[in-house]
């Protein structure tokens, strides 16, 4: 890469594409610390693989009739878990808040999200650390996550849930456990998690009492027993060998399978895991859907897709490809002012700037979201935060409806792959939709 504005007093700077500045910085840091980089946020490198951006919708023309964008009914009601549960989870919209731990997030952040979800008629998910006091107070429907660490596990909280999510892995770092650095293991968090204050908490990668799909069949039954068969059991997978994993999860008795793609977020994790493990969310939804179809359970087992869902367009595309609902995490936090240019000097103190910050792991979040410091947390007002998150959920829902109506659907769940065309060969091959301009599906 060349410096674009050379003049006679300076040489033209050439930057290596192999040893780029951030790579050099990474090596410098390892030379000082002897350990790999840990940070928050998720995949940061530029997306050169097929993503939802490589698809476009085909609204009605002469061959089909669109619905009026602002007037005609377009249902967003979503029902999850009817396979075995006596009480499937009924939501007003197909967007849910994903599991983000109280610990990674502040009490105020958890409270704001719980309130927003309750108001719009969707669910919150607990995260690694158990049910937080914020959710206990403000959430209407919560999905109770059972993770390898079992921090905060409490049968009473489990029985109060609207759904149980048995987490095998997470999109940002499949195959590994969670991480919460010492500055965030405050007295309260330590007490919740039964840990010494200030430890750099590492969660195990494996569940303590099950080690494979053959055990998981029994574990799912245990969770059903514990909840009188009332609520759906989700199995959450970090997208890796997605086709095989989804088939297994469905066959093992999951009511709903959650697939969390590579672009998913995290509060703290080794950077290399976030960048170089797992498959992208677009690829993952296509593999997941194919897996369910191939075992004849598509439609019977619902699919929730997560991992870098940024807006209603991503959600609509995921749904057209086969998702029954999507989880948002990072987008929800951004709605709470993550990376907003407020308290700019505090971003700089962290060595970053607004719109570029991924320093959740430090616990010094300038806007009070991913911190346990009470002073910083005050910067996130619960009511304001709840309203902002609620606005995002509503706006995303309107976006999905707009696209669905343009495609002639009176229900957002009627979106199909055939409503889209691919903008690149790769997307055509991965998704099985025609490449725009050719009317051909490539590579199948």
């Amino acid at each position: 890469m060349n410096d674009p504005t050379p003049d006679s007093t300076r040489p033209v700077l050439q930057t290596s594409g192999t040893y780029s500045p951030d790579v050099m910085q990474g090596i410098h840091t390892k030379a000082e610390t002897g350990i790999y980089e840990i940070r928050g946020y998720g995949t940061l490198r530029q997306r050169r693989w097929a993503t939802f951006d490589d698809l476009t919708f085909l609204p009605c023309g002469l061959t089909r009739i669109p619905l009026e964008g602002y007037r005609e009914k377009c249902s967003t009601k979503t029902v999850l878990g009817g396979r075995f549960a006596k009480r499937p989870l009924e939501l007003e919209i197909p967007i849910m808040i994903t599991g983000m731990s109280w610990g990674a997030l502040s009490y105020n952040a958890k409270a704001a999200l719980a309130k927003a979800a309750a108001k719009v008629g969707t669910s919150n998910t607990t995260g690694d650390g158990g049910l937080s006091p914020a959710e206990r107070e403000f959430a209407k429907d919560y999905v109770y996550e059972v993770l390898p660490s079992r921090y905060g596990i409490d049968v009473h909280d489990l029985r109060g849930a609207s759904a149980i999510e048995l987490t095998i892995g997470q999109g940002a770092k499949p195959g590994t456990g969670g991480l919460l650095l010492g500055s965030k293991v405050s007295e309260t968090i330590a007490h919740q998690r039964d840990l010494p204050v200030g430890v750099d908490q590492r969660s195990p990668a494996r569940h303590p009492d099950m080690l494979g799909p053959d055990d998981m069949v029994i574990k799912i039954e245990e969770l059903r027993e514990a909840t009188d068969g009332q609520v759906p059991i989700f199995v959450k997978l970090g997208a890796s060998r997605t086709y095989d994993d989804v088939k297994l999860a469905a066959k093992c008795g999951a009511d709903v399978v959650v697939v969390d793609g590579m672009e998913g977020g995290t509060g703290a994790s080794p950077a290399i895991l976030q960048e170089h493990t797992g498959i992208p969310t677009l690829a993952a939804v296509c593999e997941a859907r194919a897996a369910l179809e191939d075992c004849g359970l598509y439609g019977e087992v619902q699919l929730i897709i997560a991992g870098g869902i940024r807006d209603g367009v991503d959600a609509a595309k995921a749904m057209a490809l086969g998702a029954d609902a999507v989880y948002i995490g990072t987008a929800a936090l951004i709605s709470l002012n993550c990376n907003k240019p407020l308290y700019v000097e505090d971003y700089r103190a962290l060595g970053t700037e607004p719109y570029h910050c991924h320093h959740c792991h430090t616990g010094r979040c300038p806007v009070g979201i991913t911190t346990q410091d009470p002073e910083l947390m005050k910067r996130l007002d619960i009511e304001e935060g709840a309203e902002r998150a609620l606005n995002l959920l509503r706006a995303m829902t309107l976006e999905i409806q707009m696209l669905a109506r343009a495609c002639g659907k009176s229900d957002v769940h009627h979106l199909e792959p055939e409503d889209m065309a691919a903008l690149t060969m790769e997307a055509s091959i991965i998704c099985g939709v025609p490449l725009a301009g050719t009317r051909k599906v490539f590579g199948r």
């Binding site: 002897g34 049968v155 200030g198 430890v199 195990p204």
Partner: protein
Amino acid sequence: MVEIAAVAIDAGTLSTREVNAFIRSRLQGGAAEICVENPNARHNLAVALLQPGRVRFMGSVGYYCGGLMDGAEILVEGSAGWGLAESMMQGNVVVHGGAGNGAAAAIRGGTVVIHGDAAARLGVSMKGGLVLVGGDCGYMAGFMGQKGTMVVCGNTGAAFADSMYATTCYVGGTIGNLGTDAVVEPLAPEEAEMLDRLLAEHLPPALRAHKPAGREFKKVVAGRKLWNFDKHNWKTWQDAL
């Protein structure tokens, strides 16, 4: 309240759901003890018992017996499968035979007593309470133990007490080998007395007689080198991660 005497049920022909429903309803009704015959090592028996009362299994149980329990008592005359009493909040579980992998996994309180041997990952991620094994235990017992007490009267397998937080372990026999960041510390006199009391309280006299005295136990805790990332402990971290 009138205490209802022991009730019995033959699990042989019933589904697990039916057995558990029976147990729960009788406990709710105030039964002091429920005898379950022919459990046949079935899985998920006595899951999520939230009422006080005792359940006695006249045989072996499968996976997750007593899992997600809060406040009841369970006695297993035979052996138990994986995940015995997993995530228990409070309560008391006694197994006369042995237990499979992950016995007392993630317990937050209560007591788990195994007269026989425990398999791998005994007390993994335990967050409180007491687990006491009369016999030996297997590989990686105490892994990532956070709080609570583990007592193994016999020998341990490899990687004992690996990567622990603040669980305290006591071993009466030989330690197979110590896991990452596991260290042996001197046993205080009060701890020796405590161990004698625990063994007397939880093991039948005939069994207790063959076990070491309290003062013969070794104490194993975390060396705390893994509690915070530190580049000077590279060797420790290399083994741990």
